[in-house]
Every structure is written in C-alpha cells, then in structure tokens.
Amino acid sequence: MLGFHLEPSLFGPSFIVGIANAGIYSVLAVALVLTFKISRTIGFMHYGVAVIGAYGYYHFTAEYHWNGIACLLVLVGIGTVIGGLYGLLVMNQRIAFLPRITLSMISLAVMLLLTAFATRLFPVRPDVALSPSPFGEHAVRIWSYNVTIHRIVSLGITVALVILLALWLNGTRAGVNVRAISDDVEAARWSGIRLFRIGVGAYAASGAMSCLAGALLAPTAGTDISAMLLVFFRALTVAVVGGFRSPMLALLGACVLSLTETFCTTSALGEIGPGTKETAIFVMMVLTALVVAKLRRTGHRLEVEVL
C-alpha cells in the first residue's frame, strides 16, 4: 500500500492535471474565505449552492439543450439570488449575533435543504451521464498528455476570479469595508459601516461563485453527490489550512492540495491506495492547522482555537 517508487514520466501530466483541478477547489475555497471574513463562520451552504449549480447545469443542457455558456450565466444569476437570500436571513440583527456554532448549524441545515431541492427539482436522467462542457470538447496536447479545454478554461476563470477578488478587496471602498469587518467587527460597526448591506452583498457574491464552481464540475463529476462533497471538503480543507486569510492563499493551497492528490492518483509516486491518500490529506490538514495555530498562539493556556 505504501509502495513508493517514482515514475518521472508521469510527473508532467500529473502536474498539469493537478493545477487544472485546483481551479475548482479554489473557487469554492475563495467563496468560503469571503463568507468567513464577513461572519467568522464556515459557510457549509456553499456546498448546497454548488450542488444546485451542478444539477442545474446538467438539467438545462440535458432537458432543454441550452447553450453551455448561457447555462453558466443563468446559474451565476441563480447563485447570486440564493446567496443574497441567505445573507438576508443571517445578517438580520437577531440572528447575526447568535453563537458561531448555531450559525454553522443553520448553514448546515440550509445546505441540506438546497441539496434536497436540487435533486428534486433537477432529476437525474438515466440516459445522460455527463453534461457537455460549455467550452467544447477539444483537447490540447501539453507535454504528451491530453488536457481538455474545459479544464484549461476552468482554471483560467478561477485565476481571473481570484485576482479580481483580490483586487476588489484591496482596491474598492466596499472591499476595504469587508476587510475592516473581518479585522474587527465591533469597531467596524462603530465606524458607521453598514454591516447588513455589505454582508448580504458578500453572501450574494460568494453564492454566485459556488454556483459557478458547481456548474463547472458538472461536465467532469456528473451528478455524483458524493464526489461533489469530496470536492467541497477539499475546498474546506484548503480554507481551514490557510486560516481563511486571503483568496491568494486559497489558490495556493488548492494547488498544493490538488497536486498532492493527482500525484497520488496517477501513480506518479507509485501504487498508493485511496485509503493512504485520504489519510495523508487529512493528516496534512490537521498538521497545518496545528502549525498555523501555534504561530498565532498568545500563550493563553486554555484559549482554544475557535477560528
């Protein structure tokens, strides 16, 4: 099971595929980072929105035969609406200051409801397994390995999104307000920043991102909910490891994680079973979280890391 022997010829293609996969993880991770900055809770509901995106894309292309790009745009719109509605729910005065565990559980509940809704509203057809990619079915040859256009464009969209978000956070007034809120929410309130408006906006934006991520997943993962949960958990791992700090860190973390995973799956490091791979990734997450916590330690004995 732990047969390590290197296969150099597989390094190149593993690298490419790994980077390309990172794209999907980082979009979700960035959405998680954004909502964490606003509310200091983990946005589990993003998984639900991603499922709606995936199932919706599948349904629109399979049932109505819409153009792929049009589907993406429509789904981004749907994601924005769902995110905005969720923001309205949780940024409300009475709910916003509930304990974080309660808010996380509300997020979990909404995630489940959205998933149920998606599977009910967009039923799986027996004759269509995977959806067509919105960017065509060509493949490009890089280093003697075929990489689909879909993967490349997804990666491109991701990088563009992350850069845009980083620019927005640092350049615009609303972005500055979001960073102020994430720095010190009480002081932000006293400074006259409108928490409600900014919160709803941030949730809407992250909803759009998760829906897009889900739609981009549909051509590769189909409607396999378990696979999607795995992707979501990878994104969560990435976000946790980065301490929910910044979009760029999320992208970097996603690359590292995805590369690790791809190298394991493509036997570039020898025959590694899925069990070892999963355990290795889990251990990596825990260790990094411990190291990050250690670096931020204030010396208080019972100050437990509650993110």
Binding site: R173, V176, N177, R179, A180, D183, D184, E186, A187, A188, R189, W190, S191, G192, I193, R194
Partner: protein
C-alpha cells in the same frame, strides 16, 4: 455659557432618564445630562462605573432599557449605528481599535462609509491638518503604528464623516503624557474651528480639569455632582 443662552438653544445631545445595559441587566440607572454644541465635556469615573456603556449607548450598540436620547431634538433610541454616524455622532473606542491589517488611509476611508468618493481625499487632508504625522504615514499598516499614532488614527477615523459630536473613550490610556497633550490639543482645535462637541470618557486620575468645559462624574451607573470628586 450663560444660562440665558442655554434657555434658547436646544442641546446637541439630550439624555433623559436613560437605563441601558446588557442582556436585560441595566448598567446605567436613570442618567440625565445634556451636551451643548461646541463644548468639551469629560465623563469621569472609575472602572465598572459605566463610562464605556454610556458612550456605547449613545453610539447605539448597547441595549436601551428605558429613557430617551435625543440628538438635535430627534429621538435616536432605535437608530442603528450607521444612521447615527450619518446624523453626526462618531466614536473613537477604548484601546483605539484601529483596523490593524488596513493602512492608515484605508482606516480613514473605513470611517467614511457614506461619504461620496469625490470628497474622500479632501476630508483625509483635513484630518492630516490636525495630525500631520498621519499624513506622513498614509500607506503604513495601522497595526505597526505606536499607541499615540493609533489614537490619532482612531480620532481621525471618527472625524471623517464631519460629525457634530465626537465620543472619545479613554484617549489617555497607555499613552505618554506628551502624547496625551497632543491629542487633547487637537481635540480642542477641532472644537474651536468646527464647532464640534467632544465627550471624553476618562478615569479619575487622568482628569484634566482645565482642558475641558465641564466634568460629569459617573459612579456605579448614575451621574453624580462633580463636587464629590474630592476624596477623604
């Protein structure tokens, strides 16, 4: 200010029979006082006396359990903090509470949420006039500044929306006396030049009787006369 003039004007901020506290438990009991335009008032008291709660109640982040607060004769009990900022009250909290990961300029911008972008630069320059050292360190991260400079950032942030009333919580805390002088001096200039009222909360031992117009003493949640300040 003469009593005759007081009869004609309405106070900038009128607090009447205010009861406020946390989770339904009052910390302030039937507080009554007025703040007039263009005056500096110090709210003096020990810890746990309620100074912090008082300022936060005026700012809108503490639950009001009874009584009334009026800004220019408008009842503001139920107004959210951003509305009060827009109406002319701003707050510099205890311990400065600057946004450590934002630069000085971004901190100032954060305090001016409802100010149109075109005016932002002008207002920043106004702040730099009172605190030149901030102008020199515009781009520096606020977390790396000294205590005195952070206090200036906090007050500057509170100045950005051009308020009529600034609430300053314990500006002397943790600062060297010469820094405290500078801060008070700036506040006095602001009061004189712009007719801004300043309500400063301070501890007894930091009280500067000649650097303000009036002293209000708060003790265990009630405002008591200043004469009793002398202790046996």
């Amino acid at each position: 200010m003469s009593d005759r003039r007081r009869e004609l004007e309405i106070p900038k901020l009128a607090v009447e029979n205010l009861r406020a506290g946390y989770d339904g438990v009052p910390v302030l009991f039937d507080v009554n006082f007025d703040i007039w335009p263009a005056e500096i008032v110090v709210l003096c008291g020990g810890n746990g006396a309620g100074k912090s709660t008082m300022l936060k109640a005026i700012m809108g982040t503490v639950q009001v359990l009874g009584g009334e607060m009026r800004l220019d004769d408008q009842k503001i009990n139920k107004w959210p903090p951003h509305r009060r900022t827009k109406a002319g009250i701003s707050f510099s909290p205890e311990g400065r509470r600057v946004f450590a990961t934002l630069s000085v300029k971004e901190n100032l911008h954060a305090g001016a949420s409802h100010v149109p972008t075109a005016e932002l630069e002008e207002r920043c320059q106004e702040v730099y006039e009172y605190f030149p050292v901030l102008g020199e360190r515009e781009g520096q991260l606020a977390g790396t500044l000294s205590g005195g400079e952070q206090q200036m950032v906090a007050i500057g942030r509170a100045l950005m929306p051009r308020p009529d009333l600034i609430l300053v919580e314990e500006p002397s805390q943790g600062l060297a006396p010469v820094m405290v002088d500078r801060v008070y001096h700036a506040l006095q200039r602001i009061c004189l030049d712009r007719g801004v009222s300043v309500l400063i909360a301070e501890q007894f031992q930091q009280l500067r009787e000649n650097d303000c117009d009036r002293v209000l003493v708060i003790d265990k949640g009630t405002v008591v006369p200043y004469e009793s300040l002398s202790r046996s």
